[in-house]
Amino acid sequence: MKIAILDYQLGNVRSLINACESLGAEVIFSKDHNEILDSNGLILPGVGSFPQGVKNLEKFDLIKTVKSFAASNKPFLGICLGMQLLFESSEEFGTHKGLNIIKGDVVKFPIQELDSKKLPHVGWNEIVKNKHNSFFLNNLADNSDMYFVHSYYVRPTDSSSVMTTTNYAGFDFCSSVIVNNVIGCQFHPEKSGKNGLIVMKNFIEMCNV
C-alpha cells in the first residue's frame, strides 16, 4: 500500500509526508503519471495562490494525472489550496479556471460581513459535522479544533457534498467536502495536532481497503 503526495512544487510538504509516515503509511512524493495512478491514494497538498497552483499543475503536465486519479474511485484528498483547485473556478487574483472535479467556486471572505474584519483566517477553529457517515471523520468528536490559514473558501454547488462547516467571525463556510472518493479539507490535518492525525489515519485506512 502506498500513498502518493503530488509534487508540484507548492508549499511545505515535509510535515505532510512526516505525518503520513508517523502513522505507518508508505509515501511517495511524485510527479510521475504512472507512479501516481498506481498508488492506492493521492493527496493534493498546496500552500500558495490559486493561479500559481494551476500554473504549476500545467507546467508539470499534472492536470490529466489528477483528473484520472479522481475518476479512478481510489481515495483522493485535497488539502487547503489542494482542495480549492478541485473546483470549477476561483476569484483569487482575477478569475481562474480550476480542475472542475467538484462543482462550485472559490471566493474571498466578505470582509464587511466579518465581525473581526481580519483576514486571512488563521488559527484554530472548530469543524461542525454536516455529513456524519464519512469514514474520514471517524473517531473525531464533533466541533473538533483544526488549523486554518486562508482568505478564500469553497462554495460547492451541491450542498449535500458539504462534510463540515466552520464559523469564522460570524460567517459560516464549508470547511470540508466529499464527492464520492474525492475529499477536500480547508484545514491542514498535518498541522492540526492530534485531531489532524485522526483524520489522516482515517484517510490512510481508506486507502488500505
Binding site: 508549499g11 505525518a19 483576514l119 486571512p120 488563521v122 488559527g123 488549523y147 490559514v149
Partner: protein
Amino acid sequence: MKKSRVIARIDVKNEFAIKGIHLEGLRKVGDPNSLAKKYYEEGVDEIIFMDAVAAYYDRNSLTEVILNASRDVFIPITVGGGLRTIEDIQVALENGADKVAINSKAIHSPEFIKQAVKIYGTQCIVSSIDAKQYDDMKWYAYTDNGRERTSKDVIDWAKEVEQLGAGEILLTSIDCDGTKKGFDYDLCSRVSNEVSIPVISSGGMGKSEDATRLFKSSNIDGIAIASILHYELESVSEIKYCLLKNSINIRI
C-alpha cells in the same frame, strides 16, 4: 469562532534554546527540539523558532532544528532570524517551516515582503517587529535582535507591512522581553487596533493572568511565550485552563 492562540517561542543560539532579558544576556535553557516536542504534547498551538544571533551574523542556522521538529511536532512552525533572501525562505520552508518571520531585511528593503508574499502567499509571511518605547504611546522599531534602533515608528511600520502583504505580525516588546512582569498592553492594544491582520504579542508574560488581561484589553490574536514555559513557572495546560476559566476562547 476562531480561538486565541498560545504559541511557544523558542529562541535559539547555536544548537541551544536560550532566553535573555530585553533580548540580551542570553542563557541556555535546553534543547530546542526537546522543548518543542514537550510543548506540543502539552497542547501548545504553534511553535516559533527564532535564531537569536542570525541577524548579527547574516545567517539562519535553524535548518536542522526545523527538520527535526517537523518529524514529531504536527502544529504550525514559524522560523525567524536572519532571513534575507528568497532562497533563505525557500530553504526554511523545504525543511518543514510553515511560516517565516522577517524583521531586519524588511526594514532595510520593505519590497522584500511584497516579493516574498507574491511567491509564497500572504499566510506564509510574518512581519516580526521588535518595539521599544521612547515616549508616551510611542515606540521605535529595532533590528538585529534589538540591537539597532531605526527611525520607523512601530504603528506606522505595522500599517506599512500590512499594506505590503504580510499575513501576521509578531510584535515583540523589547522593554518587556524576559522580565516576566506582564505584556506591553498599550503597545499591543494600539497595534492590534490599527491593523486588520492577526497580531501575536511576545515579551513579558510571567503568569496566566497577564495573558487574560492582554486578551481582554486588546485585539491580540495570540501570545508567543518563552520564559514562563522554559523556567516551568506554568505549563501550557495551566495557562490554557486559566484562560478558559476567564472566558477566553482557546483550543483545549
